[in-house]
Symmetry: C2
Subunit: 671 residues, 2 copies
């Protein structure tokens, strides 16, 4: 209730006489300051506390509408106990929707209850029947035909005198209740004075398998700088692995000043390609394509070739410049200057990044800079790109992103923004609040059962889930987790299954499928990182995971339970090295149970605790679980069942629960 | 952040360039819609999440002011980890206060950190020293003398050239940091755009022992209708028991139509006095005094007599009328009418309360009614009453109370309102949100250890504590709990100790001290209830609790730990019939441990788990606990200690922890 304490002498404005009180409307983010998020087709289940003084009956309705429509739609709310009321609506279009709650005293329901009790107690109800007649007659005046005539007729009968029992029966009949519910007296209804927003995007904002690749590493001639045209040859293989999104690091000209050499060394040799994140050279900046990759048209061709095999291309938005970026010359005021007039390079003292100039977002000319940056995104959107992976968004102001994303979404409602914010939790969450559809997470460093359970529970069960959508990455060009460095093939398989089944969105960086695991000594980074070099890989190497990846992505596609994180639940298993969880589709038809051996070195076994109640299975019942990864089928019974996983073959099982097990009763001759 | 998504084409208004982000300011009620509550002298500890992009250092300040002042005061906030910041202020006056948070990038602190790291790494810092000189010079321009000259001098030195080590030492010196903190650059500060309110009342709103009495029962001649003058004789005895507030049921003329007889029978005999809650007769309504009690002047005299022995009189605000109330004739439009034109009496079908007409708060003439009701409270406030116990507030609209309490408080800031809302939890809490200072609770029906622990934890540890202050009643004229009916003297003692030590505010209804326990058969109500009859009691009866009550109230007065519920904590004890808890004063000097045997029939013993860490006591340390009720002193050691309580003597011990125990080291000749 945002109404303020009355300030005027009396302050007795009309709204004060409304008896119904509405509070605690959910879902909402920060009291309604930010929208909650859904994708097209999802439901918004709204609850609110709707109270009134005394014992009168209450009615409440959920009001909602797409942003582009003026007219509110309504769903009648039902009482959920303890003064909470609930109703829901489904968002059908990729645009923001609004919702709020209205409540009023239901005088007819109140009267009906009282009449019933008094009549049952043998009291004289003549006066009550006249009151009821007046209520019904007033509803008739609000009603349209044919209800109007019908209600007027009932009012006549209630007031007609004669046998009270017959009139009470007429008054309490269900048809009258239904008619009266259609024409309520809402003249004194309380309209909750806050309207909440839900941001609606397409399904890909919630669900997708991402693959990251550097196009320059796919030259026909290994070791040379590849082009978009050459990289197209790799697309069918990525598509066969079942990915949905193909994410490219920056594709722009790379600076030459202070260009980094192999393994992040300070001096690049003449043949070293440099880091794609050092954006801008004499050939252009954020709206240009690196000449060694090809032309803008080659990029378009690549994007379309990818689309033709079912891959949507995502580009990198890295708002920083190399010293050779055209903006350095054209707009020096967009950068920070040192007392000697030179531009400040990036640093994290004592570390220096002399190949990078950060932008200054709150300088004198910030408006022009912000517009130029938004126009970069609009430029690529204009060339058909709809997914933007944003580099280090936490080093740019939150209000900048709020403004940019809103501005882009106004023209491209289906644009998706992924935040690469490996930063402190509250900053990560704030970026999601201001509009990022997805975010990188700490999953990459979470390995033990307690770590994974605690973190995924926070992401999927706390208020965070209303606005923060995790994208779980197994690895990135910056991060080769220790677990992969030492865990071998089993660790790669386990982390893949975890990412792909814990997260509706997940990603791998290329090389994962061929078990790349060599780190710079003592670091969590790749040796001979692709960030500073062209890399060639043998994707047909022995033991590669291409088929395993394809299998897990096919399982994802076939099972709606894995398209959302909303019904992820962790379950008990009596071995700390095993992680056991379930996901269920919204219609509850599709139930997936996943069991992962987190120890890449040893076989582990244990008894799992299957959540049979939520599956509608009784303790004695036999049901089938079908391992979609290994194709084994098992008959399980009741709650406790045995599992054993040998990491040498597969460290995980992904079961689909198949309820119906044939018994003699299904046999033709039974009976 | 209430700023909206930019709607204009660009929406690049100035505030967008502010890099600091402020959210999650606490305390707040419903996102700031309602004030939090404090009493004079209490602290408001404010926390907020203050974030910014990148790695720059942040500074934040808490702004606060009393409502009557224009100028904000400020307390610098300190970082509390995980991007949370905190500071506090103390409310010194009984008026509303406001608070909010301001944050900015601390450029000097950021620069200082970087300089330190770069210099330590042996890098050239000439440019950094010039940057620092510029920062200090800019602070000098903002500063007043003598800081201005001092800062200008430092700026000169930093920029002067020469030995960098000396200049770095000058730059990093603490005195410079302190001077710079005094003159920050706040030109780009983010001012959180929500201002929060704290309602401040006098201490009695939080802490007090209440006693309820019907003055008519204190005639000199037992069995006749007593007057205020006669009842004055009882005041010294109530004062000796140590109560603070004396609450009187309605003192107004009582209706004659449908007057209730003894034990709530439908027909009153000629000598039956009726229920004081059936307010109004030909002698007057809510601003009149019942002639059998005396005159308005007699009431004033009674109030002053009470004050002279330290008792503040609270009156009952019961907004309902008997059929004989003057308003029924003067303002029939303030009531509901039946089709035959008669006024509807109160009912809870099939029960009828024909001696009561409820008021209609949303009728056509609601404004005049609301004003009249507010004027009733103002009338009694004008005669010196400052505490109002409100009868059944949950049967009147929430917005009515919000308006009435604000209106009264504007003229009488020290007015206290106690809500007698024995109703559903959300309605109870909503009444507290709209302004009631205290509320009745479910304590009256909570008896077991798990019930008491769960309920008091909800009241004192959840967000509820910011606005809902419990007043724990052992009994009321309406409620004689079963536990008292069957538990005998030990139950009365235990429930008294629980109410008086669990609750900073608590109350008893007269008769409690003489163990009145006879109920109407099969009910939770008193036999021969004082509500419908004059009652005479022998307050000197054998076994009466007057001394025990006086003792517990004296303990309350002497121990600040018992003046608030904020630091109530429950602790373990290995016997389910024992309840063990502690309270601590704000300065932590006063620590009270309470152990209650909840079983009135049997002796129980057990090992308690003393929270020694929070007392600064080590596992091996010996300390003294002093039973303030029984006067026994015990030497306890470490965490686990033994207790045994025989309900026949006292079912409770109230220990004050006395840290210092003398050992040989305190003896003169030791050493």
């Amino acid at each position: 209730m945002t109404e303020r304490r009355p300030r005027a002498k009396d302050g007795l404005d009309d709204r004060l006489a409304r008896r119904v009180w509405i509070e605690n409307v959910r879902p909402r983010v920060d009291g309604g300051e930010f929208p909650v998020k859904r994708v097209v087709g999802e439901e918004v289940v709204v609850t609110a506390d709707v109270l009134a003084d005394g014992h009168d009956r209450i009615a409440a309705t959920l009001r909602w509408r797409p942003d582009s429509e003026e007219r509110w739609r309504e769903e009648r709310m039902t009482a959920a106990g303890n003064d909470a009321w609930t109703a829901s609506f489904r968002v059908a279009r990729p645009e923001a929707h609004r919702y709020t709650v209205v409540g009023w005293i239901d005088e007819f329901a109140t009267w009906r209850d009282e009449l019933e009790k008094k009549f049952a107690a043998g009291q004289d109800v003549e006066s009550e029947l006249l009151e009821g007649g007046a209520l019904v007659r007033s509803a008739a005046r609000r009603a349209e035909e044919p209800d109007r005539a019908w209600l007027a007729d009932v009012a006549d009968r209630l007031e007609a005198g004669g046998d009270p029992a017959a009139r009470v029966e007429r008054a309490l009949a269900d048809d009258l209740r239904i008619h009266m519910t259609r024409w309520p007296d809402r003249s004194r209804a309380t309209e909750h004075d806050r309207v909440y927003a839900v941001e609606v995007n397409r399904t890909r904002a919630r669900y997708g398998a991402w693959y990251e690749m550097f196009p320059r590493s796919y030259a026909r001639e290994p070791g040379t700088h590849g082009t978009f045209r050459e990289a197209e040859a790799r697309l069918p293989e990525i598509a066969r692995m079942g990915f949905d999104v193909l994410y490219l690091p920056p594709i722009h000209p790379i600076g030459r000043s202070h260009r980094k050499g192999p393994n992040n060394t300070l001096r690049a040799g003449p043949g070293d390609p440099g880091s794609p994140w050092a954006i801008g050279a004499e050939e252009g900046g954020h709206t240009a394509v690196h000449p060694d990759l090809g032309t803008l048209e080659d990029f378009d061709h690549f994007r379309e070739a990818a689309a033709s095999v079912g891959l949507e291309v995502a580009i990198d938005v890295a708002f920083q410049c190399s010293p050779d970026h055209p903006w350095v010359r054209e707009h020096p005021e967009w950068f920070r200057h040192r007392p000697d007039g030179s531009i400040k390079h990036a640093e994290n003292p004592p570390k220096k990044y002399e190949d990078i100039y950060p932008l200054r977002f709150d300088g004198e000319d910030w408006r022009a800079l912000w517009r130029a940056l938004r126009d970069v995104v609009l430029f690529w959107a204009g060339r058909g790109v709809r997914i933007f992976r944003v580099d280090n968004p936490h080093t740019k102001p939150l209000r900048f992103w709020r403004w940019l994303i809103a501005g882009v979404r106004e023209r491209y409602p289906e644009a998706i923004f992924l935040s690469e914010a490996f930063t402190r939790p509250k900053v990560m969450y704030a970026l999601a609040k201001v509009g990022f559809d997805q975010s990188y997470t700490y999953f990459t460093w979470r390995n033990t059962r307690s770590e994974l359970t605690a973190y995924l529970t926070e992401l999927t069960r706390s208020e965070v889930r209303e606005y923060f959508r995790p994208n779980l990455w197994t690895n990135t060009p910056d991060i080769l987790p220790e677990h992969l460095q030492y865990g071998g093939r089993a660790a790669f398989m386990a982390r893949l299954v975890l990412a792909a089944t814990l997260g509706a969105s997940y990603g791998v960086y290329s090389g994962y499928e061929v078990l790349e695991a060599e780190a710079r000594p003592g670091s969590g980074e790749y040796l001979d990182s692709e960030k500073y070099a062209v890399k060639s890989r043998d994707f047909r190497s022995k033991g590669n995971l291409a088929h395993y990846v394809a299998r897990i992505n096919a399982i994802r596609r076939d099972n709606p339970a894995l398209h959302s994180n909303e019904r992820l639940r962790f379950h008990d298993v009596d071995n700390e090295q095993l992680l056991f969880y379930s996901k269920t589709s919204e219609d509850l038809d599709n139930v997936i149970l996943v069991i992962v051996n987190l120890d890449p070195h040893h076989t582990h076994a244990g008894w799992v605790d299957v959540p049979i109640e939520s599956l509608g299975i009784t303790e004695g019942e036999v049901y089938q679980v079908h391992d979609l990864l290994g194709e084994g089928r098992f008959l399980w019974r009741g709650r406790r069942n045995f599992v054993q996983l040998d990491p040498a073959s597969s460290p995980a099982q992904v079961f689909r629960v198949r309820r119906k097990v044939r018994t003699e009763r299904d046999f033709d001759y039974f009976m």
